[in-house]
């Protein structure tokens, strides 16, 4: 019979083929078994991160400033969403949650990196949407609604710049945060305390491992690690004081067209922040509730830049509030004696022809240091800082002046617990050479001495300087966070007051400065009589800081109005800086605000409206 050889050939081929199968089985079940075992375990166990509740923020009196309000959030387990259904599911979700499709797509792509870990697609959806999503689970594989939390700020309108707000991680920062163990779908602090204390407020993830079947149904728990709840922060600010001081500033600014300004009040001894206001500001809640696009557009387009905390991030020339630095430098360096008098005839013309004016055209006559401070005589400070070629007075000079500015805390951040603090600028000849390619001239020293020209400071730096003058010479780090509490309410971490530096001034000279500041407010010739309080003794200094802008009808440059000082003059309890942006004269625009704030802090009562005062002068009547 034919075909025997061929049948044997087929048999051989079958044997060879089955041997190949056996070899493959050996490879899968012996050689690579561990890999597949791990994959099977991964199939079956699903890890669900348990996010801790974010820590709260309290005011000084333990009034909560923020709460974690329950909301419905939408979660996705990417492993349960087949690729071919992604499109329709995301489109449905975009409609139901109001999230943008591109955002959902971005989150899904991020979530696919760990397909079996649920990821949050939408933070807070309305109740109706949550119910609809639950009802349509069949059409939305992998999607689940869970309760989550949203930050709700109790005084969000008053504390906007201090608390800041939370929100989704910006796409470009996702990698950075992942490195810190923060998932891409979390809310993080994006501004204010929420941002600067992000790590402490957040706490640490817990973890739940579940055995699940192929359809994603959880069968039972394999292990559970509880999350570590975030710490709570207690601020140095009290709600009522912050609220009242903001209100006082707002009332004064309301008299102006597009008024803008900032106030910082510190405790001189500790550096504790009593109040910090930058107007216009924003309500933290609009970011966590989802701002309407109009109100958000309004915030973004406002030329006063309300989203920026100008108390710490705004840079301004300090004007005459800065003169105390040149004064103390001149005394310490022996440029002048306290009693030395310098003649002021309203103008100083250098041999090269440049003229430098006093604010008082007829001049102050013969002035000593105290009077120079009290009456804010420019000519005196030109002489002691840059020298006078006619009297052969050797001035302090740029280098030594800059050193003194730095020792008062300028040109560097104060180290307050807020993001975005600016360091300001202490100009030097090196800086000017390098950045403007121009040589330093005597006029630059003159300008620096009176807080004009290239000098740039923040209101917080000015307040901090006056706190140091008031407390006897210690430059304190401004304290905004008093302590951190654990979730039992026990103190976990206390931030003690911290001395950043000591003013390089003898007690005698410091007392001369203090006397000048007292006289500026309390003597008839002083520049700050409008800061005089009926309830306590205020010491302080006005500032009118010109900046380059459109000149007014009389050809004057626009100016920021400052008033900075402390009260009571003996044993001060408060140091403050008030800035009215484009406010004109410090003595008219800023000093009354300081007085109202001091009155309020001393008495606890709201002062009368500025326009109801007998000495009220409308900002429209400029001198």
């Amino acid at each position: 019979m034919s075909g025997t050889r061929r049948a044997l050939l087929l048999g051989g081929a079958a044997l060879a083929a089955n041997t190949a199968l056996a070899a493959r089985l050996w490879q899968l079940q012996v050689v690579e078994s561990d890999t597949y075992r791990a994959q099977a375990a991964q199939n079956r166990a699903r890890t669900r991160p348990i996010q801790p509740l974010r820590g709260l923020i309290y005011d000084r009196n333990r009034t909560p400033l923020v709460a974690n309000a329950p909301v419905f959030s939408v979660w996705l387990t990417p492993a349960d969403l087949p690729l071919e259904r992604e499109g329709p599911v995301l489109a449905n979700l975009a409609v139901l949650t109001g999230e943008r499709l591109v955002d959902l797509r971005f989150k899904l792509n991020q979530a696919r990196l760990a397909p079996d870990v649920p990821a949050r697609l939408a933070r807070a959806v309305p109740r109706e949407s949550a119910l609809t999503i639950e009802e349509r689970r069949q059409d939305l594989p992998g999607i689940a609604v869970r309760t989550g939390t949203r930050r709700e700020y109790a005084h969000g309108d008053v504390f906007g710049h201090i608390l800041g707000f939370t929100g989704p991680i910006p796409a470009e920062d996702v990698q950075t945060y992942r490195g810190q163990g923060v998932r891409f779908d979390e809310d993080i602090g994006l501004a204010g305390i929420e941002r600067s204390l992000q790590t402490q407020l957040r706490g640490r993830d817990g973890e739940q491992r579940l055995e699940t079947d192929a359809f994603g149904r959880a069968l039972h728990e394999l292990s559970f690690t509880p999350p570590q709840v975030g710490r709570h922060a207690v601020l140095t600010i009290a709600v009522n004081e912050q609220k009242a001081i903001r209100e006082i500033l707002a009332r004064h600014l309301a008299l102006r067209e597009r008024g803008a300004g900032a106030v910082v009040v510190l405790r001189p001894d500790t550096g504790d922040v009593v109040a910090m206001v930058s107007l216009p500001d924003y309500d933290s809640n609009i970011f966590t509730r989802g701002a309407s696009s109009e109100s958000f557009a309004l915030l973004v387009s406002d030329p006063r830049r309300p989203l920026i905390n100008h108390a710490i991030s705004g840079l301004y020339p300090p004007g005459s509030t800065y003169k105390v630095i040149a004064a103390s430098g001149a005394l310490e360096a022996g440029v002048v004696l306290p009693q030395s008098k310098i003649h002021c005839d309203g103008r100083l013309i250098l041999p090269d022809g440049w003229a430098f004016d006093d604010w008082l055209p007829q001049g102050h006559g013969l002035v000593d240091l105290e009077r120079a401070i009290a009456e804010s005589c420019n000519i005196y400070f030109y002489n002691v800082s840059g020298g006078n070629p006619y009297t052969r007075l050797q001035g302090l000079g740029n280098r030594r002046l800059a050193e003194f500015e730095r020792s008062f805390g300028f040109g560097q951040r104060t180290g307050i617990d807020l993001p975005g603090e600016a360091s300001g600028l202490v100009p030097t000849s090196e800086w000017k050479n390098k950045n403007l390619q121009q040589p330093w001239v005597t006029g630059d020293t003159y300008h620096a001495a009176i807080g004009q020209g290239l000098v740039q400071v923040t209101p917080l730096q000015i307040a901090s300087m006056y706190a140091a003058i008031g407390n006897g010479g210690r430059v304190m780090r401004p304290r905004l966070v008093d302590r951190m509490l654990d979730h039992h309410g026990n103190v976990a971490d206390r931030t003690p007051p911290q001395v950043r530096g000591v003013l390089p001034i003898s007690d005698t000279n410091l007392q001369l400065l203090q006397a000048g500041l007292y006289r500026a407010v309390n003597e008839p010739q002083g520049t700050g009589p409008r800061a005089r309080s009926a309830h306590t003794v205020v010491a302080g200094k006005t500032g009118t800081a010109e900046y380059s802008g459109a000149r007014d009808a009389e050809g004057r440059l626009p100016s920021h109005a400052w008033f900075a000082g402390y009260a009571p003059a003996e044993q001060p309890e408060y140091a403050f800086a008030v800035l009215v942006r484009d406010g004109g004269e410090g003595s008219f625009a800023a000093a009354p605000i300081a007085r109202d704030i001091v009155d309020y802090l001393v008495t606890g009562d709201m002062p009368p409206l500025p326009q109801n005062r007998p000495d009220f002068i409308s900002p429209d009547h400029r001198l």
Partner: protein, 387 residues
Amino acid sequence: MLRWLARIEWATVISTIALVAFGVLMLSTTADPNTQGLENQAVQKAVLGALGLALAFAMAQIDYRGLHGLAAPVYLVGVSALVVVLLVGDFDLGARRWFELGPIVVQPSEFMKLAAIVAFAKYLSDRSDSARSLRTVMVSLGIMLIPACLIFFQPDLGTALIFGAIWMAMVFVAGARWWHLLTPVVIALAAFPFAWFFAQDYMRQRFVTFLNPSSDPLGAGYNVLQARISIGSGGWFGHGLGQGSQSQLEFLRVRDTDFIFAMLGEQLGLAGTIGLLAFFTLLIVQALVIGLRARDMFGRLLAIGIAAMLFSQSFVNIGMNVGLMPVTGITLPLVSLGKNSLLVTLLSVGILLSIHSHRGAAPFRQQSMHVVRGSLPAAGPRGVLGR
């Protein structure tokens, strides 16, 4: 009775019983625990297996050469059934493969395999004198293509390809010229780009998935990947019967049919998979040996066809489970859930047993045909393994 039992080829029977037992064991671990008695799929399989085996024993006593006369009618009935199922079959899982006869679900393509084997055996043995002629090859190709095309349009590409494999093996052993056989293969390969163009989407997808199952773990590649994970995680001895997260938590889908081998791999490990492979190899080798020892060409070709059917199906199925073959929906003969397949395979075993028990029987009827054709002696030379 004893004389009857003495005629049974026991290696074939034992490997058959072992393979059915593997199936019953696997199905018992996935059966709905609420079902009792005959409702339980494992019990059903055991009962049907026992009945089928009894039938096979009975067939062993009947001369297989009776099939020679039945070949044409059986073939025509089978083709008619395929036409009927295409027209009125139950549309299920995207294909028309079944129709219902009362409580019984009939899958004509399964029976057609056996019918085609008988038809080839008759045609090729009748024309064994001109086996090398192109005409023989072309006619037998036509006999194969009619049912294969009908099945292709169900659509069931896998089963259609099994027909091709059976035909190729039988024509090869019948003595066709090499180039007659290689030409269709070359044509098929050359036609692949065109076939790709006209292929159904699911076929293309399966091919792509076969090449890289990880490309889409939740889509078409899911089953392949999960099967591989199941088998691999079984290790040497598996997780034990009824254990193993892959099959028990249903990460492994179609675990009762296409991927029953993966479930076996997870639960019984390398010991189980190699054991099963060994029994299949034994069965296939026995079928070939029976064919070599058959007393006539008809019997030899029948056995070769059955061996080819068993081998091609088991190889394609296991190959698919371990990721060496594309997913074709071919079930594992004797082991998988399907009742039609089990019955047809046991009938095939019955035919094998009959060929074996009649290897020395006196020829009748057929001999006269041979004499008429005047080509072959009544009994061919003994196979090399013959006694």
